[in-house]
């Protein structure tokens, strides 16, 4: 019986090549898209699951409450891990990671800046799962000045030879012995390290006592990632429950002094990638995109399934006779339903085979688009393959369900006599299905337009500073840092170099937050305090700067604020607008110790919008309450986006430093970039910088901050094109059917004197109305989804705008109507005699 089904299905597919091709192509594309999205999602969901103990590993995180404001960080203090192990029996082990990017490694004549190098505890290999190529995990990082590299990093310096025992050097000429080589980390690891240095090195350098100190102050100084491994059958909740006692014991004394409190948080290792969004976090994914992509895949498949349903029912006239005969010969309805379902399933399986082959071929391209490194195959992803197959069967059954139900219902007496006009029936349902397809397609078009618009917005928005033609160079050589003023003078000799500045941060990379003491906000204070603070301001404006008044008086409050140390040229170089007051001035000797420039957000947050100039900020608060600098606001800069547009502009304080470390910003001539860069490199070497000259263009670095959106945008664009393409295939099939079916009507109309134009009008109108209905339904749906996307992911976003809807509607109309034109024009221009005779 089943063989008979297959035979009849095969012959039907061959006989109706046009319709079969439309269905197979549509379904194949649907399955290709679904496979890629499944691969992508599985990769996202499998982050860090390769660690055998991942279910027991948690990352500890910090939640500071300072002046009533919460600040959440992915990093914690250095002693937190050891103290947890000491205090909580649930904690079996801890591992810390401290370090980061741009670290110089030297071996022989090879020297490079390396990213993702961390100091870590030797316990790492007990907690995380790593495969060793060389070396002993038990001993690898126990000694000071030892390191473990990944395969790729080793290859870069040592080629294929065993590097165990080799010595590498860092920027400070400290030697490290290589004691282990591990396999590269899977691409889906949230913390991707290329090399690990023993934390014993730091402890040795800082002094073991100090490094391992449980002093209260040490707990308030955060900067390392801490992971804990819980014992079997222990729960993190138990640790949380006991944390108040821990806080009391180790941290409260300082907390009370600075008017702050601390709460520990923990995220299961495997959840970090998709759920975490804390300050100082590693780049993370976004669960929403996993959902969005799943829906997109589902919709593409649905569109393809609808094509099948539409065409199968539309062409039911051709099958009606067969149904009648089979029934007369004794077929039960259930047998016929099975037959039609096997046909759609067989078609889906053909599409599956084509799709799997296509996925193999297209995987490298997809990886490039998605910024992933996915693999696919019978051995590597058997489960996904099985999932896709099951989805294929389900889609086959869904596609075939309505045709099976509908076709098998024919009454033989009627169809064999040609009494019912099969195919016409179900017309309303077909229209609804077409509208549904276009709702999806139009929503995706609108989505694509808005996503592109947002990307464009991110890249072209006026950030409040000039990011173009600025190169940024990291400076680590301490000897060189001392020489930067002269280096600057030398560079400025060259006409292609407009300005040079040093700072602790450049736009996109300003992440230092420190508790300051600031003058109290007069607006939100109680009346008594207002008069108090007014009095203080009066004292201030009269020039009486008795600082002790502020330290002991109630007019100063603690506040955690972002800061950056800059030199005299930073604001000019970046062309940041000063709205009030002035820039730091070399002529004013006091700026170094007493000046601070704030952004407008600071003035707003502290309630200083009326008279920000002259307001006091104490910086560098020690544990005894004394401040290193007592500064006053000398200037206010217009808010500029010193972080990516995902972040809102928070208060930022800019303090002056004569030689701020880390970053050298150089503005060069747009037209003579090469000459400028060559000159800088020449001077760099002349000044005896021991590190290679390694620069980035700031605008490029800033664009990279939107890579995730860029990837999403690309995937979305492709999904959109695919879904529209499949929907158009369906429209093509349907228009062919409708033209065929109405041939007689068109013939009669023409005999009665209708012009070709009037007939075209009738035929086009039908589709026109469907697309317009789809647009009307899709618009609010798209608006709702996109508005939510923009609001949850971006602080600064483009407007969706009515134009996106008009454009999407026009696009759908034009390509939709163009698609149906072939068959419709053919039908309308057929000689009426032919069309009437054909009945």
């Amino acid at each position: 019986m089943f063989k008979n089904y297959i035979k009849s299905a095969y012959r039907n597919i061959i006989r109706n090549k046009f319709y079969s091709a439309i269905n197979i192509v549509g379904l194949s594309i649907g399955i290709i898209a679904t496979t890629f999205i499944l691969l992508y999602n599985q990769n996202e969901l499998a982050y860090d699951r390769h660690h055998e103990k991942h279910e027991r590993i948690y990352r500890l995180e910090s939640n500071f409450t300072i002046s009533g404001k919460h600040d959440l960080f992915a990093v914690t203090s250095v002693p937190l891990g050891p103290a947890f192990k000491l205090e909580f029996p649930e904690v079996e082990e801890f591992v810390r990671f401290a370090g980061g990017d741009g670290i110089l490694i030297r071996y022989g004549d090879k020297e490079f800046y390396e990213d993702a190098l961390f100091y870590t505890d030797s316990t790492i290999f007990n907690v995380f799962t790593h495969e060793f190529i060389w070396g002993d995990p038990e001993k690898a990082l126990t000694e000071p000045n030892t390191c473990v590299f990944t395969e790729t990093l080793v290859k870069k310096y040592f080629g294929d030879k065993n590097p165990i025992g080799e010595i590498i050097t860092n920027a400070d000429n400290v030697d490290f012995k290589i004691t282990g080589v591990i396999k590269d980390l899977p691409e889906n690891s949230h913390l991707k390290y290329n090399g690990l240095f023993s934390i014993a090195t730091l402890s040795e350098r800082i002094g073991r006592e100090r490094f391992n100190s449980f002093e209260p102050g040490a707990f308030w100084n955060i900067g390392s990632y801490t992971y804990i491994l819980l014992k079997e059958n222990s729960s993190i909740e138990n640790v949380f429950e006991k944390f108040p006692q821990f806080y009391e014991k180790y941290m409260k004394s300082i907390g009370d002094q600075i008017n702050a409190s601390f709460q520990v948080m923990a995220t299961p290792l495997a959840d970090i990638h998709l759920t975490s969004s804390l300050s100082a976090d590693q780049p993370t994914g976004n669960k929403a995109y996993v959902y969005i992509f799943s829906f997109v895949a589902l919709f593409i498949l649905l569109i393809a399934a609808i094509n099948y349903m539409n065409m199968a029912t539309a062409r039911s006239a051709n099958r009606a006779k067969e149904v009648g005969i089979r029934k007369v010969l004794g077929a039960f309805r259930s047998q016929l339903m099975r037959q039609f379902l096997s046909e759609s399933v067989i078609l889906a399986i053909i599409a599956f085979v084509i799709a799997i082959a296509a996925v193999y071929l297209l995987l490298p391209d997809f990886n490039e688009i998605a910024g992933k490194n996915l693999v696919f195959g019978f051995s590597s992803t058997p489960f996904i393959l099985l999932e896709i197959f099951v989805i294929t069967i389900i889609i086959g059954l869904i596609s075939g369900s309505y045709p099976a139900f509908y076709l098998s219902s024919f009454i033989p007496v009627k169809v064999l006599k040609g009494k019912i006009n099969v195919g016409r029936k179900g017309g309303l349902l077909r229209k609804i299905l077409v509208v549904f397809q276009f709702i999806i397609s139009i929503t995706m078009i609108i989505g694509t337009i808005v996503v592109s618009k947002q990307l464009d917005f991110l890249k072209t928005k006026d950030l409040g500073f000039e990011k173009e033609n600025v190169i940024v160079v990291g400076v680590q050589d301490t000897a060189f840092i001392k020489k930067t003023p002269t280096f600057r003078e030398e560079l400025l000799q060259n006409p292609n170099i407009a300005n040079v500045s040093t700072s602790t941060g450049v736009p996109g990379n300003i992440r230092q937050i420190i508790v300051m003491r600031v003058e109290k906000d007069e607006k939100i204070s109680t009346p008594a305090e207002i008069s108090d603070s007014l009095k203080v301001s009066n004292v201030d404006t009269t020039g009486n700067t008795d600082t002790t008044t502020f330290q002991t008086g109630s007019s100063m409050v603690e506040h955690a604020l972002n800061l950056i140390m800059i030199d005299y040229d930073y604001i000019n170089l970046y062309n940041i607008e000063i709205t009030e007051g002035r820039n730091f001035d070399r002529e004013m000797g006091t700026d170094l110790e007493e000046g601070v420039i704030i952004n407008e957000a600071t003035a707003r947050e502290l309630g200083w919008t009326d008279v920000p100039l002259g307001k006091k900020i104490d910086f560098g608060i020690d544990l005894d309450g004394s401040a290193r600098r007592h500064t006053k606001v000398i200037g206010v800069v217009k808010d500029f986006h010193y972080l990516s547009l995902h972040n809102k502009i928070d208060p930022l304080l800019m303090f002056l430093s004569d030689r701020p470390r880390f970053f050298l910003s150089i503005r060069i001539d747009e037209n003579n970039q090469r000459q400028a860069l060559d000159y800088i490199e020449k001077k760099w070497n002349e000044f005896g910088n021991i590190n290679p000259f390694d620069y980035d263009f700031l605008d490029k670095t800033m664009d990279e901050m939107y890579e995730a959106e860029e990837n999403i945008g690309r995937i979305f664009r492709i999904a959109c094109v695919l879904s529209i393409f499949i929907a158009l295939l369906g429209l093509l099939g349907l228009s062919s059917f409708i033209a065929e079916q109405r041939t007689k009507e068109i013939g009669i109309r023409k005999v009665l004197g209708a012009s070709v134009e009037s007939i075209l009008k009738i035929l086009y109108k039908e589709f026109f109305i469907l697309i317009i209905i789809a647009l009307i339904i899709a618009s609010p749906v798209a608006w709702w989804i996109l508005d939510d996307w923009l609001n949850t992911n971006f602080i600064y976003s483009t407007t969706i705008g009515w134009f996106s809807f008009v454009l999407a509607g026009l696009l759908a109309l034009v390509i939709g109507l163009l698609t149906i034109s072939y068959h419709i024009v053919k039908a309308a221009t057929t000689n009426p005699v032919d069309s009437i005779m054909c009945e």
């Binding site: 035979k7 009849s8 089979r326 010969l329 004794g330 039960f332 007496v413 064999l416 006599k417």
Partner: protein
């Protein structure tokens, strides 16, 4: 074998009610060859459909092999039909996507016969009908006469006790028409009951009895000697 008592069929559309059969009562015994004649729209085909268990009457009783069937469900009718009744249509009603062999085989598939027995039986019948050499052809590659031969093969494949033929020669020229009628006579002589609906006096000549319908009622029943 067949007995109808006041068999009535009424078709209703929104406002119009048409009586296709009006209290038709008659009996057909096993082994008879009966022709039903009458002008277009007299109810011939309606009667044949009910006799062939493709349709239910609106009223009256229908006994087939001693079962009263007017209240049978579609599934029950299908079961009875595939075991006992073969059909031959004016327009052959072969499935275009299936070969001659597969078309003829179909009733056996629905009877659940195994593949080996099916093959033997189909080849036996095709041989008998002298169409064996065409077994791999598709219907559209055959002449009308050949197609109807295939249709007759299919009708007899399950060895039904009753064959219903609806204008079996209507789409054939006189030579092929005669061939088909002779096939039916042969079957009848081997004990199969045959009922044909026809406009053609010539075809009716082959039968033993002619039932004439007019406006849904039997007007005459002639028992006639077979011409041969």
């Amino acid at each position: 074998m067949i007995k109808t008592v006041k068999l009535t069929k009424i078709f209703r559309t929104d406002e119009v009610e048409t009586t296709a059969l009006n209290e038709v009562s008659f009996e057909i015994t096993k082994g008879e060859f009966v022709a039903i004649m009458g002008p277009s729209g007299c109810g011939k085909s309606t009667l044949l459909n009910i006799l062939g268990l493709l349709d239910n009457p609106s009223g009256g009783e229908y006994y087939f092999l001693d079962n009263e069937l007017s209240k049978f469900s579609e599934r029950q009718r299908a079961r009875l039909r595939k075991q006992n009744i073969g059909f031959v249509f004016q327009n052959f009603n072969l499935i275009d996507e299936l070969t001659v062999f597969e078309n003829v085989e179909l009733p056996l598939i629905y009877l659940g016969m195994n593949a080996k027995d099916r093959k033997a039986r189909v080849e036996e019948v095709l041989e008998q009908m002298q169409i064996m050499h065409r077994k791999k052809h598709f219907p559209l590659q055959l002449s009308g006469g050949q197609q109807q031969r295939v249709a007759v093969s299919r009708a007899v494949i399950a060895k039904p006790s009753l064959i219903l033929a609806d204008e079996p020669t209507g789409n054939l020229d006189s030579v092929h028409g005669e061939e088909v009628m002779n096939l039916l006579v042969d079957l009848n002589q081997n004990g199969t009951t045959i009922i044909i609906v026809t406009h053609s006096q010539r075809d009716a000549e082959y039968s033993q009895r002619v039932v004439r319908l007019f406006d849904g009622q039997i007007i005459t029943e002639n028992i006639r000697q077979r011409v041969l």
